[in-house]
């Protein structure tokens, strides 16, 4: 299977603190790659570098597109999502709580709709071309809402949804930008076992049906072990292990990192 993302010698320093230290790993197409590690290992920092929220001190990140390599360093904040098509979700859910579920999904399609509305001109004139495009966007939103079972609540405020539904909504909202790489920051945090099982199903669906590579930060081992094709383990900003879920479970280094060294 071909590489989707290569991270090469990524280093991120905050003053004297090295949050990520010379990290290299690959993520493949149509695979779920998990990044795990104890608290403060630098997992979210890796995400923030990938998605343009931080500018790494050193190192390169490449997204492979057919035979081209595009460097993610070239793009900053909103362009990562817009141009490079890397989408992300957040550890603490960041929906637009006072807007409806449907509106949340339409904001994710902002750039296409903006062009369709002729930068608001066609929209103000209420031209048919724009109305058709808008209908397509609504259909796409409906497609995703059907998958997560929230179609009936499309017109309710996103902030009024139960916690588990908000998590799922944030993931499908990210999917609405049609990403090549989807980065999920602890999607199972705060979910009950039934909800995490549903989450696993959703992620597997995205992986197989949507041909999207997924990068996952997670503490919930039932999620990590259940769906990961590949696991990268971080501790103090360094990669200490890389392998399949099964290998990770039995790795001495990983157990030591989580539970400490036997005296």
């Amino acid at each position: 299977m071909s590489n989707l993302l290569s991270v090469e010698n990524l280093t991120m320093k905050f003053g004297g603190l090295t949050a990520i230290d010379d990290l290299s790993f690959d993520a493949k197409n149509n695979q779920i790659t998990s990044i795990i590690g104890p608290n403060g290992a630098g997992k979210t920092t890796v995400f923030n570098c990938l998605t343009g929220f931080y500018k790494p001190t050193n190192g390169q990140m490449f997204l492979h597109k057919e035979d081209n390599k595009i460097s993610l360093r070239k793009y900053t904040d909103f362009k990562i999502a817009h141009v490079a098509k890397v989408a992300r979700t957040f550890q603490n859910i960041r929906l637009f709580p006072a807007m409806s579920v449907l509106e949340n999904l339409l904001v994710a399609q902002h750039n296409e709709l903006m062009v369709a509305s002729g930068y608001s001109l066609f929209g103000l004139l209420n031209l048919k071309t724009y109305r058709d495009k808008e209908q397509l966007a609504v259909d796409k939103a409906k497609y995703w809402l059907d998958i997560i079972g929230l179609t009936l609540r499309a017109d309710d405020n996103a902030g009024d949804l139960p916690y588990g539904d908000q998590r799922k909504l944030e993931i499908v909202r990210a999917m609405c930008i049609e990403p090549r790489l989807l980065c999920l920051d602890e999607p199972a945090a705060g979910l009950n076992p039934k909800e995490s099982a549903e989450l696993n199903k959703l992620l597997k669906f995205i992986k197989t049906e949507k041909q999207t590579g997924i990068l996952l930060i997670e503490h919930d081992m039932s999620v990590v072990m259940g769906i990961s094709d590949h696991v990268v383990v971080l501790n103090y900003g360094k990669k200490i292990f890389e392998g399949t879920a099964e290998q990770t479970k039995n790795s001495k280094e990983v157990i030591e990192a989580y539970l400490g060294v036997d005296e």
Binding site: R94, F96, A98, G123, A154
Partner: protein, 422 residues
């Protein structure tokens, strides 16, 4: 209610009285009167004791009311009923309102004074609707909105007096200038949010005013600009005796000359301008850019993660909001025929922000109600001179106590998947 509570609230009320005494004592108690050879202080302790007593009593009643939480909630039920009525019948309300506004000049009790107040209220409604784009939708607290009002008024005045162009050419130009200034202000404040943004915009408003005062060669400084051309009715001026080769409005329509013609025309002009602002806002709210404004208000980081360009989105909000401020400004200039920096002080910005916030952020109908309430009340108490500002403050306090989120704080989604359920 227990005895202990009563004693507690009584103590609290006395303490309130003490604060009131400290405030009213020097402010109201010592009155300066000029008599012949200088100023003399005349104490008026009676008024002070009356006001302090009023404060104590009021505080005591509020305390008792909040202690008996369940029994005396007349106001909140009243206000919730009020908002549910207007929400259900928002459309009817809007249509009735517009119809009333259209026939208003021809109602029997409408006189010159009412028309002036109505024009003023409509100007503030338009400013409120313009600012609603920036504050209500995009969530950027702009305390210097009056700057764009000033830019619009001065652009109109300068263009009209220098080149002698007609109102209908100068109006869009003034809007363009104001929008340009909106972008100019937008750039440096892009990174700021909340309080910091408010402070910088406040500074911007003052900068514009100070430039207007000091740039004597262009703006004529504190003397202002006089002789700004009045608008004409599509080329027909409102004059008793038109110049050679001109036909004036009353001659063309064979009417008796009356100064009211111009007032009524101005009234309809601002009504149309305000309705255009409203229509535009309602339309653009449902377009991608409007949704992006609201999304930006909700969560800027999430917006970036979805590929929404926050810079452009904010700048369009500033520019469009400023443009409507500029339109209102040119209307103000043509109505007054005289403008000076005096008219564009911070208090104007504060009133417009108050209208938007008290109306309920983002609510178009709320802006109308808040304008009528705030400006109307202040006008009603005009005879009381300096006490009208107390009425203004009191109106604000009342809204904040009973409707902390604004008079109408219900947001309707911009697009529905399942249609209207009602």
């Amino acid at each position: 209610m227990e005895k202990k509570d009563i004693i507690q609230s009584f103590k609290d009320s006395l303490f309130t009285g003490l604060i009131a005494l400290a405030l009213f004592g020097p402010i109201v108690g010592l009155r300066t009167v000029s008599k012949g050879e200088g100023l003399f202080i005349t104490p008026q302790w009676g008024v002070v004791f009356f006001l302090v007593g009023l404060c104590i009593l009021g505080r005591f009643l509020i305390n008792i009311n909040s202690a008996r939480r369940t029994e005396l909630k007349i106001f909140s039920t009243l206000s919730s009923k009020f908002s549910s009525i207007t929400e259900d019948k928002a459309k009817h309300f809007a249509i009735t309102g517009i119809l009333f506004a259209v026939i208003f000049p021809f109602l029997p009790f409408t006189d010159r004074y009412f028309m002036d107040v109505a024009i003023m209220i409509l100007t503030y409604i338009m400013l409120g609707w313009g600012l609603n784009i920036v504050v209500g939708l995009a969530g950027l607290l702009d305390l210097g909105y009056v700057a764009f009002y000033a830019v619009g008024a001065y652009s109109y005045a300068l263009i009209a007096t220098t080149f002698g162009w007609s109102f209908w050419i100068c109006l869009p130009l003034a809007g363009v200038f104001a929008a340009f200034f909106g972008i100019l202000l937008g750039f440096p404040v892009l990174r700021l949010r909340g309080d910091y943004l408010a402070i910088v915009t406040l500074g911007f408003g003052e900068i514009i005013r100070i430039i207007l005062i000091n740039w004597y060669e262009v703006t004529n400084g504190p003397d202002g600009i006089t002789g700004i051309p009045r608008p004409s009715f599509f080329g027909l001026p409102f004059k008793r005796s038109p110049d050679e080769g001109e036909t004036s409005f009353h001659l063309f329509f064979n009417l008796e000359y009356s100064t009211m013609h111009r007032i009524i025309f101005l009234y309809y002009l601002i009504l149309v301008l305000a309705l255009i602002t409203n229509y535009f806002t309602l339309k653009i709210r449902k377009l991608p850019v409007g949704r992006a404004w609201e999304a930006l208000r909700e969560d800027e980081i999430a917006c970036k993660s979805l590929g929404v360009n926050p810079t452009n989105t904010k700048l369009t909000a500033f520019a469009i909001g400023a443009m409507f401020g500029g339109f209102a400004g040119s209307f103000f200039a043509t109505r007054q025929a005289f403008i000076s920096p005096e008219s564009f002080t911070f208090i104007e910005s504060a009133i417009i922000v108050a209208i938007v916030v008290l109306g309920g952020m983002g609510s178009q109908t709320g802006v109308v109600l808040a304008s009528i309430f705030l400006i109307g009340i202040t006008e009603m108490f005009r005879d009381l001179e300096q006490f009208r500002m107390i009425a203004f403050g009191g109106a604000m306090v009342l809204i904040m106590v009973f409707k902390p989120k604004g008079i109408l704080a219900n947001r309707k989604p911009t697009i529905l998947m399942h249609g209207d359920k009602k």
